[in-house]
């Protein structure tokens, strides 16, 4: 099984390195990958039908509790079939749809990466593993949405989708970690062994909150829904695969998976019913105003996802079976409609429903597929959609009194609007006569079978499952529903329930929806009237926040990293004064102990006075030469201080170096212009204040440091052993060239490097053109 899961990643890797082979017609062969995985999983059907749960475990990071644990049950099986089955159709379809695209190999690499991640997500038994695959699906979705990377809109949508789903992923991780802490395990199988445990934990509310944000962002629930219409910038096969049939259902999968663990709790039920209910109505209402085929499909997908969340929220046996069936129903007809939209876009060059019509004359078989998908989405009897719709009404009718009267109309309105969306996309482009703008005929007259067979298969399956409902029921739906519910459900799907309220509701749906379809056309003005509401929309708020954050980061960076050296020095100094000063004054009690201090002799005072005067001159003079000379006087005075206090070596070095520096300074700089006179008094005052405080602080610290006795151990060792061990009598010299000889050698190297630098700077010839 691990090979089946990881083969997607392997394929992506191979394509990344040797993709050129599959850029041409050979790309069709890549469809064999999902097809073979599909066939591999068919082999598990007998076990799943017997109600078994198949587990596989591979050691990965046992110390962290992360193993490649996979678990195949009814729910996973349903998703695996969707991922690989629809995946195979998409692979074949894309080979023709994107034929001749220069990055076709890259496309398949992303697609394989996605398929592998998605399989891993629905099969993983370990929550951390789920998180990893979850993020991988977000990333591959990002690449696929931004596949047309020369389009700015496309890039923006990709970023938006990544931002929303990626952030959701972090919430999910938080939820998983909290669950892991509460249950002491990351294995879903072990958690499922004690289903009621998590509900009694104090962390339950938090776990739920994080899980909801994670799944809602992925499954495009309000208020995170807006990335999905944007994601329609992706090539149509991607929209069909990721953004309607599989990836957006990952959030649904997650809710379904944790339903036995966390569900059947007031918080769970109400949140899901309210969010799902609102989303399905909100999105369905939006879809009515759209003219772009893909936008209609996007909003009706959001609506369908809302319906699924809603059903999982209700959580009764009817609702769970309805959810499981509707996942399959929706995947079949929505993927089909997307593929048909792709064909229309490919051949007619437009997706605006106002400019389309009569296409049945071009492609009768595609029109047939569109009709089947639209009928299934409408829930017309003898299609699988009818059974799905029936179950939804059954679910809402089998709730308690209050809910029965509120939820049923809600579902009814949504279904009517969804029917309209299905008809608009599946039938309208093919009905009527061909408008003038399309009179030239299709862009590619010979339609490749790779394009029209996949939607026809999907449409055919919708009818086949509708005619023989026990087939999908026995194979997929009942086992998936049992997994979601947590115990076995026996509630067979039926074509005919007899004359009852459900049938009446279905009839009302179809009649009202058809009436809407025939009587209503979206007007152009309706978009403009909604404009002022846009400011409050979650999408606008997200973009606004993003833009403001970017501006804030820009100004903040510009303030701190402004490129002026002196402002950095100022910041560092002020910070140091604050930090050290605070610590110093809050913890050290100031004492002055002058007993050990030496007395001041007259000539010392003279030297001191000279140094002070020279320093002040250096700072305030307006002549560069004066500054250099007075600086050298400071150096020489310090030299004298060294002499007075028993440091002849220092005095000699200081004298030499000081002289050299002054000579160098004068030689190089005497030709420089006068100092700039910047008489900004405020600035000088501020800098002076900062400098003064810093100097005072250093003086105070020095005064305090003198009180504590210095550790003389090292000095004594050197002094005692200078002659005995190193045969030298000048201890300073012995330390430098003997005890710490290696350090001195490195120091010499530093000087050599500096000398090389100086030399090369002097020799450097800059061409006039380089000066700029």
């Amino acid at each position: 099984m691990i090979l089946a899961v990881l083969s997607g990643f392997l394929a992506a890797l191979i394509l990344a390195f040797s993709g050129k082979l599959f850029r041409g017609r050979l790309s069709v062969l890549l469809g064999l990958l999902p097809l073979s995985i599909f066939n591999y999983f068919l082999y598990f059907f007998p076990d799943i039908s017997a109600g078994k749960v198949i587990t596989f475990s591979y050691r990965w990071i046992p110390s962290l509790g992360i193993n490649l644990d996979f678990r195949l049950d009814g729910l996973s099986m349903l998703f695996v079939m969707l991922i690989t089955g629809i995946g195979a159709l998409i692979y074949f379809y894309a080979a023709s749809y994107l034929e001749g695209h220069k990055f076709l190999d890259r496309f398949y690499a992303y697609l394989s990466l996605f398929m592998g991640s998605m399989l891993g997500l629905v099969l993983a038994d370990n929550t951390l593993l789920i998180f990893i695959f979850w993020e991988l699906t977000s990333i591959s979705s990002f690449f696929l949405i931004g596949f047309n990377n020369d389009n700015a809109e496309s890039r923006k949508s990709a970023l938006m989708a990544l931002a929303i789903t990626g952030c959701g992923g972090f919430f999910l991780l938080a939820s998983f970690v909290l669950m892991g802490i509460a249950t002491q395990t990351y294995s879903i199988g072990q958690m499922l062994a004690a289903p009621g445990f998590l509900k009694e934990q104090p962390a339950y509310e938090l776990v739920l909150f994080f899980l909801f944000v994670g799944s809602f962002s992925k499954s495009a629930q309000f208020p995170f829904h807006f990335w999905l219409p944007g994601a329609m910038k992706a090539p149509t096969p991607v929209s069909a695969y990721l953004h309607s049939a599989t990836m957006v259902k990952a959030g649904i999968y997650l809710l379904a998976r944790f339903s036995p663990l966390l569900g059947d709790h007031l918080l769970w039920t109400n949140t899901l019913m309210i969010t799902g209910g609102f989303t399905m109505l909100y999105a369905a209402a939006h879809s009515v105003f759209k003219k772009d085929l893909k936008s209609i499909l996007a909003y009706s997908t959001i609506s369908a996802l809302g319906m699924l969340v809603f059903l999982i929220g209700i959580g009764t046996r009817y609702a769970i079976v309805a959810a499981a069936a509707f996942i399959l129903v929706h995947a079949l007809y929505k993927a089909g409609l997307f593929l048909i939209t792709g064909i229309i876009d490919h051949e007619a060059g437009t997706r605006n429903i106002d400019k389309l019509g009569g296409l049945r004359k071009w492609f009768p078989l595609v029109a047939l597929a569109g009709l089947l998908a639209a009928l299934s989405s409408a829930g017309v009897p003898l299609t699988f959609g009818f059974i799905g719709k029936d179950l939804i009404y059954e679910a809402t009718l089998h709730t308690q009194d209050f809910f029965r009267y509120t939820l049923t109309p809600l579902a009814l309105i949504t279904n009517i609007l969804l029917l309209y969306a299905g008809f608009s996309t599946g039938i309208r482009p093919f009905a009527g006569s061909i408008p003038e703008n399309l009179s030239k005929g299709p862009l590619h007259p010979s339609l490749s079978p790779l394009l029209w067979i996949p939607p026809l298969i999907l449409g055919g399956l919708s009818i086949f499952f509708g005619l023989l409902p026990y087939v999908p029921d026995q194979l997929l739906v009942s086992h998936a529903a049992s997994s979601i519910y947590g115990s076995y459900i026996f509630l067979p799907l039926k074509i005919w329930h007899g004359f009852n309220l459900t049938l009446l509701l279905s009839a009302v749906t179809i009649v009202a929806g058809a009436a809407l379809y025939f009587l209503y056309r979206p007007a152009t003005a309706s978009a403009a009237t909604q404009y002022w509401l846009q400011w409050f929309s979650p999408q606008h708020l997200t973009e606004w926040t993003g833009e403001k954050t970017r501006l804030f980061a820009y100004h903040y960076t510009k303030m701190l990293q402004n490129g002026y050296l002196r402002s950095y020095i100022l910041t560092i100094t002020v910070f140091l004064i604050g930090l050290i000063g605070y610590r110093f004054f809050s913890t050290v009690d100031l004492r002055v102990n002058t007993s050990g201090f030496t007395e001041i002799r007259f000539f010392e005072f003279v030297v001191f006075a000279i140094t002070v005067i020279a320093t002040i001159t250096t700072v305030f003079t307006n002549s560069r030469l004066t500054a250099i000379v007075s600086m050298s006087i400071i150096g020489l005075s310090i030299c004298l201080i060294y002499v007075y206090y028993g440091a002849p070596d220092l005095a000699m070095t200081q004298f030499t170096i000081d002289t050299l520096t002054v000579v160098l300074f004068v030689l190089v700089l005497y030709r420089l212009p006068q100092y700039l006179i910047n008489s900004n008094r405020k600035m000088k005052l501020r800098d002076g204040l900062v400098a003064f405080s810093f100097g005072t602080l250093i003086s105070l610290i020095t005064l305090q440091a003198l009180i504590s006795p210095a550790n003389k151990e090292i000095s004594r060792f050197y002094a005692d052993n200078a002659y005995l061990l190193a045969k030298g009598k000048n201890v300073v010299n012995v330390i430098l060239v003997d005890f710490r000889g290696a350090d001195t050698m490195v120091e010499t190297m530093v000087l050599t490097i500096a000398a090389l630098g100086v030399y090369s700077l002097l020799k450097l010839n800059v061409k006039p053109t380089d000066k700029d």
Binding site: Y554, G563, L565, R566, I569, L570, T573, T598, F605, V612, T615, T618, V619, A627, M631, I641, Y645, G646, A647, P648, D649, L650, T653, Q654, I657, L660, T661, L664, V668, L669, L672, P673, Y675, N678, D687, G688, V690, A691, F694, G695, I698, S699, T702, L706, A710, I714, Y718, A719, Y723, K729, V731, V732, L736, T744, E747, L751, G757, L761, L764, V766
Partner: protein
């Protein structure tokens, strides 16, 4: 004498910082040198200054018999002086080259600002 040295350290530090906060490159360099001098005296002072007793073992002895100045700060300062010379000479030459290229001593003119990110 310690008082005077402590005052001197404070003065050199604040003058150094003040000069480094100026716009001129030469002042920046002078400030750095002053700061270095201040730091040297600080280290020197930490070694309990003892007058007139260099850390040199008398000619006729193999170990010290009298008080001696602390040799460790001295060797540290010696290293510091030499290294700072390396830095200073490099900086002076660099300054000269920069001036040759830009005809300016103003640090601000060396900045390139990105207009927008």
């Amino acid at each position: 004498m310690e008082y005077l040295l402590i005052f001197l350290i404070g003065l050199l530090y604040s003058s150094g910082i003040y000069l480094m906060l100026r716009k001129s490159m030469v002042k920046l360099l002078l400030g750095l040198i002053l700061l270095g001098n201040g730091a040297n005296i600080l280290i020197f002072l930490m070694g309990d200054i003892a007058k007139g007793q260099p850390p040199i073992i008398p000619r006729d002895a193999s170990i010290f018999t009298q008080m001696y100045a602390d040799p460790v700060p001295q060797s540290l300062i010696l290293t510091a002086i030499v290294i700072s010379f390396g830095l200073q000479s490099f900086a002076i030459i660099l300054l000269k080259r920069v001036y040759q290229m830009t005809k300016s001593d103003n640090l601000d003119t060396l900045n390139t600002h990105e207009i927008d990110i």
